[in-house]
Symmetry: C2
Subunit: 224 residues, 2 copies
DNA sequence: CGATGTGAACGCGTTCACAGCG
DNA sequence: CGCTGTGAACGCGTTCACATCG
């Protein structure tokens, strides 16, 4: 029953879940693949393919039962349990992630805060105290941490990641703009903020070029 | 000469650029596709395909000239100019992005800070003052803003995005976990932080299942 | 020789079209 | 009849293999 689901499908499952939650609260009983696609920004066929991957049972002629589908998505995404998460790096990004409300709502609980800046160690954020990196192994063991968020400078990311993995981490969410070289069984998701802006920059530059080539005269940007 | 480059290629071009920068500083003259692939986490064939998309001239038997390649990548990505960027939302995420050093290093300059929280308006961050959302149109016009970062609550993201687009934005980097419905010529990149953790959660749960199944006798084709 | 550049083959995710069931 | 479930067709990015050139 356990099939491999492609990364892109998994990402869409998260979007479906997000779309379904408010509908479930409203008490909606069923939803069609077409409506769910509209809410999630994809196509009806894609929704049906995704949901059929794990054998979801929709009702022909009606659609999918919202509560059951929501529960199934949570199960597939591993959200039926609480995940203890280590947050490494108590800088501005770490601070933003610590306060990010959507993590806890999904069962991700930050259970330890680590940093190597003496000026930060000992400070309290909410009900957690920032601990030095030397506590990493002990904290990971104590809380059973398998998931860690790396919000540290690029220069130290590799070393910190290796330590986290040695201490038991099997999945990392990395915010440092470097490629982490880790054992193949460690899952790494990287969020590269500058890269996202660069993609936008490329798109705008390309649009400029096309506009310049396509139109003989100049068109200024539409003003407000 | 202007060809369409796939999104995945554009993302890799950013990675190549990041890998080349330190090498250029060291004065490295040339680099082979194999070495660049190794540094960027892809394959040599992929590097050659990507670079051939925009007609880069490598030297057969030697490799690619580092300084020229770096300049070419910057040009393709639209990084030869400075981009004025509006940052909307002065919460924790906004704060982290404002201080993010890698933006300015790439030519992205935050030129205006907007928020609708009266408690924040008027505060100074560095050399910028947080302005109310009512200033959005004026600020966009004054600075020629085409690129905006949305770090606002999900509930208001759609409305703020529409306003930004009406004021001249053509590309948005969105941190709110909602799907933005905007005209097709507006480029939107979304960073969905909870979704990233959910992908990790799925991977860990899947690994658990496989381990449980594999322990029963059958072993999957796990390599690496 | 060595490494690039590229057509061809491959794999895979997406889309299509329709059979099947409520 | 409506909508799901799914095999087949399609498109596209990746990989392969080799001709090409310094």
């Amino acid at each position: 029953v356990t099939r491999r689901i492609s990364d892109s499908s998994v990402r869409r499952l998260s979007l479906y879940l997000r779309a379904l939650e408010p509908l479930a609260l409203e008490g909606l009983e069923t939803i069609s693949s077409r409506d769910l696609a509209e809410l999630s920004g994809t196509t009806a066929a894609q929704v049906r393919k995704d949901l059929s991957l794990f054998g979801a049972f929709g009702t022909r002629g009606l659609g999918y039962p919202v509560p059951a589908l929501l529960a199934e998505l949570q199960s597939i995404l591993g959200l039926t349990r609480s995940w203890p998460v280590a947050l490494i790096g108590a800088g501005r990004i770490g601070s933003a992630l610590y306060a990010y409300p959507h993590f806890r709502a999904r069962g991700f609980q930050i259970v330890t805060l680590l940093d190597d800046d003496p000026a930060k160690i000992g400070a309290r954020w909410g009900d957690l105290t920032i601990r030095p990196l030397t506590c990493l192994e002990g904290e990971f063991l104590e809380h059973g941490v398998q998931m860690a968020i790396l919000a540290v400078p690029a220069a130290v990311a590799q070393a910190v990641a290796e330590r986290a993995v040695a201490a038991g981490a099997r999945a990392l969410l990395n915010f440092a703009p470097v490629r982490l070289r880790l054992p193949g069984d460690v899952r790494v998701n990287s969020v590269n903020l500058a890269l996202e802006l660069e993609a936008l920059s490329h798109a705008l530059s390309g649009a400029d070029l096309e506009a310049a080539e396509g139109a003989d005269g100049d068109k200024g940007p539409a003003g407000a």
